[in-house]
Each structure stands twice: as structure tokens, then as C-alpha cells.
Symmetry: C2
Subunit: 340 residues, 2 copies
């Protein structure tokens, strides 16, 4: 198998020392005489030696490999996070192993420990927390993982759980989004978002309602359409919204779960003869790469995903168990217009 198959033994004999010593310099232990260290380093250089990660892991040492669990990659939102994470990992000489949730999480977070099988030095977890899984169950799972390796939670996070985390303050983001629209004069603001069985969406709803309340707007149930995470769902959600309302009560602005949904919804709006943004303001979330190129260009929330990925890895590596909020900001483009 191993083609370049140089082992620690080869280095040892080349340098005329024991494998223990080689192992020492490999791991950067301090108590090695400078002369010896140099000899070994030369041998390593000469033979192009590369430590075998599997053997390392098995011997109980660091593997130099981190992991990241992400729901999927087709949504660029996650791909950005991944990309940030890899770059940070590389920067500190680590490998990053991706587990796209699809792999393993058919059964929810409880399936996670199974994938901890490969020995990782730590893992970044982007989980979703459906209510039904229950906090107790989740906590149990996380405790189990915690016993075998450090981790940090990102994205949506259960604030009740005392783990290192970088999370989106969805309530704040949502409230701010609503405020932006009310600031533009909108009063009929719909929200096309997720079903409220995940912590994430629950918080969004809270923020949505807070935002409305602050502007003295009464929450309407029929302005709140549940919707999954795709373009098509966005399209049909808007149809569902409009079809159940007399034209006079159609919203003047709609907040989409994310840019995917916003994209779908915009196409749908046109089929109703709605001009964008004149007849309907749309705001998304994620700031996907093509958002500026839609017609009209999409106003959205930039979630700084790459930076999130970077920060997650750094936090993981730091060993710190800090809990912080992820940065974000609203990007004004042309899909929202003042309403009079």
C-alpha cells in the first residue's frame, strides 16, 4: 500500500537514533539535544518522510485532522463556511474532514457519535435542533462527543447548553430586518420562513414579531408562511401567500428565510404581474454569490460565512470554551423600495 512508505524506523536508522527520539522531534518535544534534532530533521527532509496519520491516531496521539459537520453543500451558505474552515485549518497545519450531514445524520444528532470513529483532534458542529429531538437527548449526545474530542457548535445553537459556540443571533437579525422594512415605510410585511419545529426558526419568529411590535404593527398569521430551504419551496410559498389574500391585502414586503427562498419567490412574484421592487420588496438572507446579479439585485443579510468557518476552527484550536455571536450585516441592494 504505502508507496512512499517511509516509517519512523527508516528515519531513526538514517539518523542513527531511536524511534523514540524521532517521535520526539516529530512532535516538537523540547528535550532533545540540538545536534540530534538537526540530524533527525535532515533525515526527515532527505527521505521525504510523512507521518502516518492512522498510526498516530491509533497510538493515541494527535492526528492533525479536524472535522466539520455540515447539513449539506449544495446551498453555498454551507460551502462558504466549509471554505473558510479549510483555509483556517490549513493555515494551522491541520487537515479538515467534512461530514456532510446527509452522510450520517439521517437519525439526528444522536447518530453523531458513530462518525467520531475516525480519531479527530476536534470537530466543528453545525447542527439543527428540531424541537422533537429534545434538548435532553441532544445534550446527552454532545456530552458523549465531548468525552472523546473537543468541539465547537456553530450556526444555530441552543443557548441553554454550555458549550463553546459561535451562533447567529437569529432573533436580532430578524428583528433588524423587519426594522429595515418598517423604516422604509412598509406595514404589510410577510415572512416566508421555516417551520417552527427547529430552534433556529423559532428564534426567527420571535425576532419577526418583536420587529413588528416595535413598529406598532399587528402580527398576522396569514403573513407567516412556512417554507423549506429551496428555490421551489420559495416559489410555491409565495403563491400560497398571495392566493389566500385579497389583492388589497397583499404584503408590500416579504422577508425570505434565505436567498434561495428569495430567489424562488421573486420568480413567482412576476407570474402575478408584480413588479420588483415596485410592487413588492424582497429581502433575503445569506448573501449568496449571485445575489447581486439577480434582477433586481437582492437586498439580503450577509452572514460572513467564510469568517464564521475560520473563527470556528480557531476557536476549536484555541481550546477556549467561549460562546460568541457571529457577525452579520444587512446589504442594501435593489430589491427593496420605500413604501408610501
Amino acid at each position: 500500500m504505502s508507496s512512499g512508505g517511509n516509517t519512523i524506523y527508516d528515519i531513526a536508522s538514517a539518523a542513527g537514533v531511536s524511534i523514540t527520539t524521532v517521535s520526539r522531534v516529530l512532535r516538537g518535544e523540547p528535550n532533545v539535544a540540538q545536534r540530534t534534532r538537526t540530524k533527525v530533521e535532515n533525515a526527515i527532509e532527505q527521505l521525504q518522510y510523512q507521518p502516518n496519520a492512522a498510526a498516530r491516531g491509533m497510538a493515541g496521539g494527535k492526528t492533525g485532522t479536524l472535522g466539520i459537520v455540515l447539513p449539506q453543500l449544495l446551498n453555498p451558505h454551507y460551502a462558504m463556511i466549509y471554505t473558510g474552515a479549510v483555509s483556517a485549518a490549513i493555515e494551522s497545519g491541520q487537515n479538515l474532514q467534512l461530514f456532510s450531514r446527509h452522510d450520517i445524520l439521517g437519525k439526528g444528532a444522536s447518530a453523531l457519535p458513530a462518525l467520531m470513529n475516525p480519531h479527530l483532534d476536534g470537530i466543528v458542529l453545525y447542527l439543527e435542533y428540531p424541537q422533537r429531538e429534545g434538548l435532553e437527548q441532544l445534550e446527552k449526545t454532545l456530552n458523549e462527543i465531548h468525552r472523546s474530542m473537543p468541539f465547537v457548535l456553530i450556526g444555530t445553537v441552543a443557548p441553554e447548553l454550555p458549550y463553546p459556540a459561535i451562533s447567529y443571533n437569529m432573533a436580532a437579525i430578524m428583528k433588524s430586518t423587519v426594522s429595515y422594512l418598517t423604516g422604509l415605510g412598509h406595514r404589510r410585511i410577510a415572512f416566508i420562513g421555516g417551520a417552527a419545529d427547529s430552534t433556529n426558526e423559532l428564534r426567527r419568529d420571535i425576532g419577526y414579531q418583536q420587529g413588528l411590535r416595535e413598529a406598532g404593527i399587528i402580527y398576522r398569521d396569514d403573513y407567516r408562511i412556512p417554507c423549506s430551504d429551496t428555490l421551489e419551496a420559495g416559489s410555491s410559498a409565495l403563491r400560497q401567500l398571495l392566493d389566500h389574500l385579497p389583492r388589497s391585502e397583499w404584503p408590500s414586503a416579504v422577508i425570505a428565510l434565505n436567498d434561495l427562498v428569495a430567489t424562488g419567490l421573486m420568480a413567482s412574484a412576476r407570474t402575478y404581474g408584480l413588479r420588483l421592487p415596485d410592487d413588492l420588496s424582497v429581502i433575503g438572507c445569506d448573501n449568496l454569490f449571485y445575489a447581486p446579479y439577480l434582477t433586481p439585485s437582492l437586498t439580503t443579510i450577509d452572514l460572513h460565512q467564510q469568517q464564521l468557518g475560520i473563527n470556528a476552527i480557531r476557536l476549536l484550536l484555541s481550546g477556549d470554551s467561549r460562546r460568541e455571536n457571529a457577525a452579520w450585516h444587512l446589504i442594501e441592494r435593489n430589491s427593496c423600495r420605500p413604501y408610501f
Copy 2:
């Protein structure tokens, strides 16, 4: 470390057999008495045993892990391939480890063997073949990899190299794209594509010129703009194209390297007051998820990326060393219009 830490020894004693026997049933060896097999299987079930992949790899057995090398993931083109690949891997009980090229290929394919360090059962390689790397160098690298694990090449492939592969016939695709446009009556057809230092782009150019020739159109150097793989590059490439041409010679159609470039280019076109598709037909490649939602919706080549990912894994697993072409088809939408 190992939290659920059940080893083959635990199973062995639970089942009252030797670890050798456990190993046998684990690997599905035939010569185990049915009674024994059942006992062991029960023990495995009871103790929720999960074989340790690292140990396996080190002992020289199958690790149950495949790898895939992809240039990056921000372009959904690759994310789709990855997604297909994971699903096929899961389906056959394998893990899939992603190496996004960024990780390791700073120095070109020659850096590949280094990452073969983790013992993989096989790997899917999506490489790009810049001319300068040279076929000899590449071949050497591939041979080296070949010695340590089976692989299959996907995407663009050097046809001279006798390795299992699923490749895009870029020349055919490109020729067909040109024909589509000439069929619509276009005569001034520009091509905004990659620099011709990669095999991939070389073939596209060949197809482009073939397509033109077949329609009796003379190739113009100034209709051929080199461009990298991004929206922004697409934008500026179009500017470069138009700025160097008198309005009367502006192309009536433009073929973009891919949908990313097409997207950027369309935005740019509008700044020149060009109406799409009336004044300019645009055709992309990749059929990214948002292509139907652009204005106008983008005519493009669907590259069946998920299926490619699936097929690559299957081919890898089959051990077959077949070489085949990847499927594709043109999707007509609204960004191209007949030209009179």
C-alpha cells in the same frame, strides 16, 4: 479518547471466540460456522461495536473510506459532484473524504501523493491539467498514486493517459453549443472562456472553432476572450470584448465558460444598454441551480454533475478501468433568441 471504545476483543470475549473469528465475520469471510457467526453478530449488535477505521487501515485492510479531490466547493458545479459522490458512497457503505484542491494542490498534481497518506480504499480525482505541468510529470504522479490505491479521473482528462475515467467531451459540447447558436441564425458568436493553458480549455477552443467552421463562419480572434472562473471575471471579460469592437461588430451571441461567467456577463451587458436576449444571446454551462431564475432565465448545458459523482464512485468501486464520456444536454431557456 474512544468513548464508546468497544474493541474487537470485547466482542470476542462477549461471544466466547477469538478475535480472529470476530475479524472474520466482520469482514464477511465465508468460512465461519453459522452458529459462531450468529453469536458474534449478536455480540456486535449488543455492544454497538464499530470497527476502528484507523486500526484497520494500519493493519493493511480496507478502511471503508474513499476520497475525492475537487478544486473547490464555492462553485456549485463541484458541490453537485460531491453530493452525488457522497450519496453513492453511502449507498455502498463507504465513507467519502473530500479533499478540496485548495488543501493540497497549490503545487499541482505532484502534491497529490502527500495526501494519499491517510489510507484510502480508492480516490476520485477531478484534476485540471495545465499544459505547463506537462503530461510526463502528471503521468508520473498518477503512476505513483496508482501504486498505492485505485483511482478514477473525472472532469477533464488527458485522453492519452490510460486510466479509468469519466470525462466531459468539451470539444463536442462546445461544438454543439456553437451549432445551437448558428442554428438560431447567429453569425457573430463570441466565446468567453478560459486561458488555453489547460487541456480543458484547449478542447473547448477546438470545439468552438469546429462549430464555426461547420457553419462557414470565420474565426475571429477578437471574439475569443480569456476569462477565469468567476462572476466578476465574466463581467469584465464582456467589457473587454465590447470595448475593443465597433458597435456594428458586437457579437449577437456569446458563449460563456460556465454559468458563473454567464451571470457576470449578463449584468455587464445591461450596463451597455443591451437588452437580453434581444440584443445579445447568452449561453452558459453547468446549469447551476439558480440559472432558471436569472432574468432572462439562462440557456445552458446541463452537465449532470450529481450523476457524474455517482458514476465516478461506482466505477471506482467496480474496479473496472473503463473510460467513458459523461452525459450532458443543452437546456433551452430564455437567454438565447433567434437572430435574423
